[in-house]
């Protein structure tokens, strides 16, 4: 522990509540009858379904392919029959549905053929495509596609690789338990990351409230053929935030609006490293993850869960209790309330936290902001939360952006310390989504303006083209006629008058029309039976008669 550590600004010390769920061994959740697998489990574009309703799929089979540069594939978590590809409820605060594939499991849990990847023989680009197709995303919470993150680009050398075992959020212990039990595999995944990024320095940051995890990781690091420094960092929330951990370990701050690769860093969660090792050394896609089920349950514990398993199955497995007051996906600081327990576990689900009135007493009613700036002291992003609150509340989003609203990591420290119990983060989320919506509207209106202007331009162009064509045609005709009668009517007037030309033009057009009419013989008249031919002849005769009759009164009228 010789490494010099730095401190980031702000932070809070909420009660940890970690020991509740670390005492029990990892359980595997039973195979559910039905798996509902959302197609948008990552940041970026929704994966495109590549199976049909009624298809039989195997465990680990790709059921939706990545589309676009920032995307990841989605796989069947067990074998069975695809029963539906439709909108199903997903874990989201709005309770709105999203596109999901529903698989009715057959209980056989039959794997598709899969083999380890020889990553050292592959080019980095090939390997990244493989990882994207194995559905690898960051499991720390942001679910950013790992393949994109493992491509720093030639312009950004990434000498320092940081593995995030901070897990600063109270109640959650899935990373802690994973490090205790699978330290070797985590570091195998780290080796692949080093290979892809070309990093020379590897740091593993673990908060000092997890001594067993630190010991396990240090033991595993000693066995590796490259230098891995396992660093114990002081426990402070949000010390497990990517930017905060990077600052504690290296002293480097990521400037506003920049990414960590801009300062030569890349940060990955331990869960991502483990999933990467499973993908490379076993060829397994990301179809399961560790989920901490804790809070108001009989047996708080960590469960190995197939993606697509419903929340309520897991809560029942941990022993549900009466008088729960709601469920959070994630921890108490950054977690999202889930209105419906029928939703599936997704790649982002690290914790299912069941609330009760004793564990999470309802907040007292909010009081007005007294501008005490305790939030500013606690803010790890060095922002002015009281000002952001004022602007967001007033709808002055431009000013909020000037005060670096988008540097807010929504960690909830400000809401935690606020003596007036104002839900500050809710205001920042509101302001951010309003700004994004505005941006989208602006793009749509720019597109509409562009298309409308092009339409006006096109109409003008078509009009001009038509006029030009007509003029050219008329010119050609006139020249032709001027040449023709000149040959024929040589002895008469040498140059035909304008009226004659016009008459000739009309006559020519008439002749053309008549020729066309004569050409258009009635269809279906060959190979007719004599009867039908007779019938047609009769009809024709009747028509001729009628035509004759129609003409007569006209003629007689003209005569009188």
């Amino acid at each position: 522990m010789s490494r010099e550590l730095f401190k980031f600004k702000g932070g809070v010390h909420p009660p940890g509540h970690k020991e509740e769920s670390t005492g029990r061994p990892i359980h595997a959740a039973p195979l559910p009858k039905k798996l509902v697998i959302p197609l948008h489990q990552h940041i970026g574009q929704t994966a495109k379904p590549i199976v049909d309703v009624g298809d039989r799929v195997l465990k680990g089979q790709m059921i939706a392919a990545a589309s676009g540069t920032v995307s990841a594939a989605v796989h069947a978590s067990s074998s069975g029959i695809v029963r539906a590809i439709d909108m199903q409820p997903v874990p989201h605060i709005s309770g709105l549905p999203d596109l999901c594939i529903t698989i009715e499991t057959d209980g056989r849990d039959e794997w598709i053929a899969h083999a380890p990847l020889d990553y050292q023989a592959m080019t980095p680009a090939e390997l990244r495509v493989q990882l994207r197709d194995l559905g690898l995303v960051g499991l720390g919470g942001a679910v950013f596609p790992s393949a994109t993150k493992l491509d720093p680009g030639a312009a950004y050398p990434c000498p320092t690789l940081i593995i995030n075992g901070g897990e600063c959020e109270p109640w959650i212990t899935c990373d802690d338990v994973l490090m205790r039990t699978h330290a070797d595999e985590i570091l195998q995944g780290v080796a692949v990351m080093r290979h892809l990024l070309g990093s020379t320095e590897t740091l593993v940051g673990i908060e000092d409230n997890k001594p067993e995890a630190i010991a396990a990781m240090q033991a595993a690091a000693a066995k590796m053929d490259f230098a891995v420094e396992v660093v114990s960092v002081p426990t402070i929330y949000p010390g497990g935030g990517a930017k905060q951990l990077a600052e504690v370990l290296t002293g480097k701050q990521v400037p506003s609006g920049k990414r960590s690769t801009d300062v030569g860093l890349q940060v990955f969660n331990v869960g991502t490293a483990y999933a990467l090792a499973r993908a490379v050394h076993h060829g397994e896609p990301l179809i399961s993850r560790l989920v901490t089920v804790t809070g108001h349950v009989v047996r708080p514990q960590n469960i190995e869960v197939l993606i697509g398993t419903p929340f309520d199955t897991l809560i029942q497995l941990a022993g549900d209790l009466e008088h729960s007051t709601g469920v959070l996906m994630g921890g108490p600081m950054m977690g999202m309330p889930v209105p419906n327990l029928d939703v599936p576990v997704v790649k982002a689900t690290n914790c299912i936290l069941v609330k009760s009135a004793e564990l999470f007493p309802p907040l007292p009613r909010a009081l007005p902001c007294i501008r005490c700036t305790r939030c500013a002291d606690a803010c790890p992003a060095a922002l002015q939360p009281q000002e952001l609150f004022r602007f967001a509340k007033a709808g002055d989003f431009g000013r909020a952006q000037e005060y670096h609203l988008f540097d807010c990591i929504e960690c909830g420290c400000c809401s935690y310390v606020c003596p007036s119990h104002i839900p500050l983060v809710d205001f920042y989320r509101y302001a951010k989504s309003e700004i994004w919506a505005h941006e989208k509207d602006k793009q749509a209106s720019d597109l509409a303006r562009e298309r409308h202007e092009f339409r006006l331009f096109r109409q003008e162009r078509e009009k001009a083209e038509k006029a030009e064509k007509l003029a050219a045609k008329a010119q050609a005709k006139r020249a032709e006629l001027a040449a023709a009668p000149a040959d024929k009517a040589e002895p008469g007037s040498a140059t035909p008058s304008e009226a004659d030309a016009k008459k000739a033009l009309i006559a020519a057009a008439l002749a053309r029309a008549q020729a066309k009419k004569a050409e258009a013989a009635p269809k279906n008249t060959d190979n007719l039976s004599p009867d039908t031919q007779l019938e047609i002849a009769e009809i024709e005769a009747r028509r001729a008669k009628i035509r004759e009759q129609a003409r007569q009164p006209l003629e007689s009228k003209e005569k009188t």
Binding site: L96, P97, A366, Y430, A448, R449, H452, R455
Partner: protein
């Protein structure tokens, strides 16, 4: 005295030349105020303001020939922005030009469509795909919801469908905080 006149005339000539040259060199194409107004307008191109499109309306406002409260799709918020830009008092929307409606896109009932192309000719943003005697369909991503395709349709097969809230379009609502009564 003569020198003074010479100097003054000299200055006048030089400044005149500079001004004349800059008038040509830095000539502004179009009306910059109309541009700014046009950027605020929602670009629905619906014509409810009484002008054939957003751009003509913007030019009319810039010239002072039209009021700022004639754009129902822009809503009260749009009027407020125009008032801020032009330094005038915001007013409520003029009801004679229509009332704001929820954002919608047109939808063609493909069973009823006869392929007459009248809606294609009416669409101000070319958001309808189709050809004579072929089925038509709306390119929903490009439809501005202007409703200009509704009147020309001879078989009334076009309807306006309000955009339903889905996950990609979901927004965080303004938090409602109950304040404690202290008095």
């Amino acid at each position: 005295m003569f020198t003074a006149i010479l100097v003054m005339v000299g200055i006048a000539v030089v400044t005149g030349l500079v001004l004349g040259w800059s008038a040509i060199r830095f000539k502004v194409e179009g009306n910059p105020l109309a541009e700014k107004i046009d950027a605020i307008l929602p670009q629905t191109q619906c014509g409810q303001c009484g002008f054939p499109g957003c751009r003509p309306y913007a030019e009319a406002i810039a010239k002072g020939e039209a009021d700022i409260n004639q754009c129902p799709p822009g809503g009260e918020e749009g009027v407020k922005k125009l008032a801020d830009l032009l330094g005038v008092e915001p007013k409520s929307l003029d009801e004679t030009h229509g009332t704001p409606k929820p954002k919608s896109v047109a939808f063609i009932d493909e069973q009823t469509c006869i392929g007459c192309t009248l809606c294609i000719q009416a669409c101000p943003v070319d958001a309808i795909a189709g050809a004579a005697k072929q089925m038509h369909t709306i390119i929903a991503a490009e439809c501005t919801g202007c409703e200009l395709c509704l009147p020309p349709c001879p078989v009334d097969c076009i309807s306006m469908v309000p955009i339903a809230e889905d996950l990609p379009h979901w927004k965080w609502k303004h938090p409602v905080i109950e304040l404690k009564r202290v008095a």
